[in-house]
Amino acid sequence: MTAESKLLTMRDAIARHVPSGSMVLLGAQLEQMIPFAAGHELIRQSRRDLTLVGPISDILFDQLIGAGCVSRVMAAWVGNVSAGVGYCFRRAVERSIPRRLEVVDYSNFTMALALHAGALGVPFLPTYATLGSDLLKKNGNLREFSSPVSEEKLVAVRALRPDVAILHVQRSDAQGNAHIWGSLGVAVDGARAARKVIVVAEEIVEPSVIASDPNHTLIPGFLVAAVVHEPGGAHPSPVQGYCGRDHAFFTEYHERTRRLEDFEGWLARWVVQVTDRTEYWKHLGVARVQALAVKEHAFSAPADFGY
């Protein structure tokens, strides 16, 4: 029996599965495999009132905020990991430019627990993290309580169930059974906590390739609503085994988004006036693309599933 393919273009996947007002999980694998191509499509399709969820996101959250797509951010860290602050984030929080932004501050651990609770189907999970902090005072999804089994105070982290998780992966079959390796972050819990998943894959492979190493299948296809074949869709973030990190791109973004008018120019050049990822890659130029290619492969030893 062959299941129906879930392959869609990025444009169709975003059009069909991420309406305005959605709660969207992005950047689950922290600095790796950030779904920039999907984020740029959200901007081109003028989504509004999104709630962004994720531990850090690097500069993708900043871009979506600057483009006016976002009304709320639930995250542990919003900025530019290798270069510093995110100027669009700052403008939105400090001056409501381009619009007012609600920020719900988490720590990485409490964000991971919120998604884990969502993945487990329980309303909250307990932790000692954030006790004594102002995060606990200001984030209504973190509530202090007395342990029912010991004489201790704990924090209840309320479960999060994003409407959609967009996850960049190394390889997937056409049904969305996906292999991820390297930086996992909160990807496994994120996929299970979300009501639907969009998988963005470097490679589309036969189901037999996925089944050859089921320990690497971190997203089962039945959770997946759409599969997008978008090699390089995580640029400038890295994908282990496929693409390096374009450090200079992050630095350039930092320098060229300090002023609002410069950000608008950056957004036009890299997102709005770019029709799709193929054009984006042409825009980057051959030299830059070659510099990001894997220089030296390092394949893992095969695991024997025989008996």
Binding site: Q29, L30, E31, Q32, P55, I56, D58, A75, A76, W77, V78, G79, V81, S82, V85, G86, F89, R90, V93, E94, V103, D105, Y106, S107, N108, F109, T110, A112, L113, H116, T127, Y128, A129, T130, L131, G132, S133, D134, L135, E144, E152, K153, L154, W181, G182, S183, L184, G185, V186, A187, V188, D189, S237, P238, Q240, G244, R245, H247, F250, A298
Partner: protein, 261 residues
């Protein structure tokens, strides 16, 4: 940073390199270390290759390393930090170790730190205007749960302040007993603040004191650049300059001093 270059010319190392060496010495052999990037990443490598060859590094993305990356990292998710890792797990795997109390040392940076070691990375205050900063990341978790927390930052009066405007990551709150009253684990809390001028440690009352000054730095200069009346240790030390072995590790990894200028 001109001054750091002058220091390099006069003494053969930058303030950044001195801070990395001081941070590396906070790591004991065999300890489990929550690393992070920038200076602490270099400190972990220096420690591993000098006095702490069995230290194990943890990263928030789920990576556990027994052998440090041999390339300079800009983020913990850089491909060289994953290749050759001992384990690439989920974030909850490393956070679980932290919450169990197994992590000996965690390193943190901060926009502001106060006299009780509380950290702020959420709101900055410049020219009387509030500036939104990136936020906690994993800093709050590490500050709450690591057995010892080491803070690294440039020493100036605005950043070493009497009380932080926002507690992103708790230190000793308002003093002795505060952490226990909040419900934080008994064996946890700030251990040292390593700055460009010296090293601060904490008394039993939870208040920071000046434990060491860096070579060429006077106590007067440290006090003038601290936003509260800083106590000074009876037996004030001078920070040991980075050794040749420590410097060679740093410079092999970061030849252009991207992180240690």
């Amino acid at each position: 940073m001109a001054r750091s270059e002058a220091n390099l010319a006069a003494r053969g190392y930058t303030f950044g390199e001195l801070m990395v060496a001081a941070a590396a010495r906070e790591i004991g052999d065999g300890e489990l270390v929550f690393v992070g990037v920038r200076l602490p990443m270099l400190a972990f490598v220096v420690a591993r290759r000098t006095h702490a060859p069995r230290a194990v590094g943890l990263f928030e993305n789920g990576v556990l390393r027994e052998t440090p990356s041999t390339e300079l990292l800009y983020t913990m998710g850089d491909p060289p930090n994953l290749r050759g890792a001992t384990q690439c797990g989920a974030m909850l795997d490393v956070m679980g170790l932290l919450q169990q109390g197994r992590v000996d040392v965690g390193f943190l940076g901060a926009a502001e730190v106060d006299r009780f070691g509380n950290l702020n990375t959420t709101w900055g205050y410049r020219n009387k205007e509030r500036q939104r900063l990136p936020g906690s990341g994993g800093a709050c978790d590490i500050a709450c749960l690591a057995r010892r927390t080491i803070v690294l930052l440039a020493h100036d009066r605005a950043r070493l302040c009497d009380r932080v405007g926002h507690i992103t990551s708790p230190g000793f709150g308002n003093g002795e007993g505060w952490r226990r009253a909040q419900g934080l684990p008994p064996a946890s809390g700030p251990s040292a603040i390593i700055t460009t001028l010296g090293v601060l440690r904490f008394g039993h009352d939870g208040e920071a004191f000046l434990a060491a000054v860096h070579p060429g730095i006077s106590v007067v200069e440290v006090l003038a650049n601290t936003g509260w009346t800083l106590r000074v240790a009876d037996e004030l030390m001078e920070t040991e300059p980075p050794s040749d072995a420590e410097l060679s590790v740093m410079r092999e990894l970061d030849p252009n001093r991207f992180w240690t200028r």
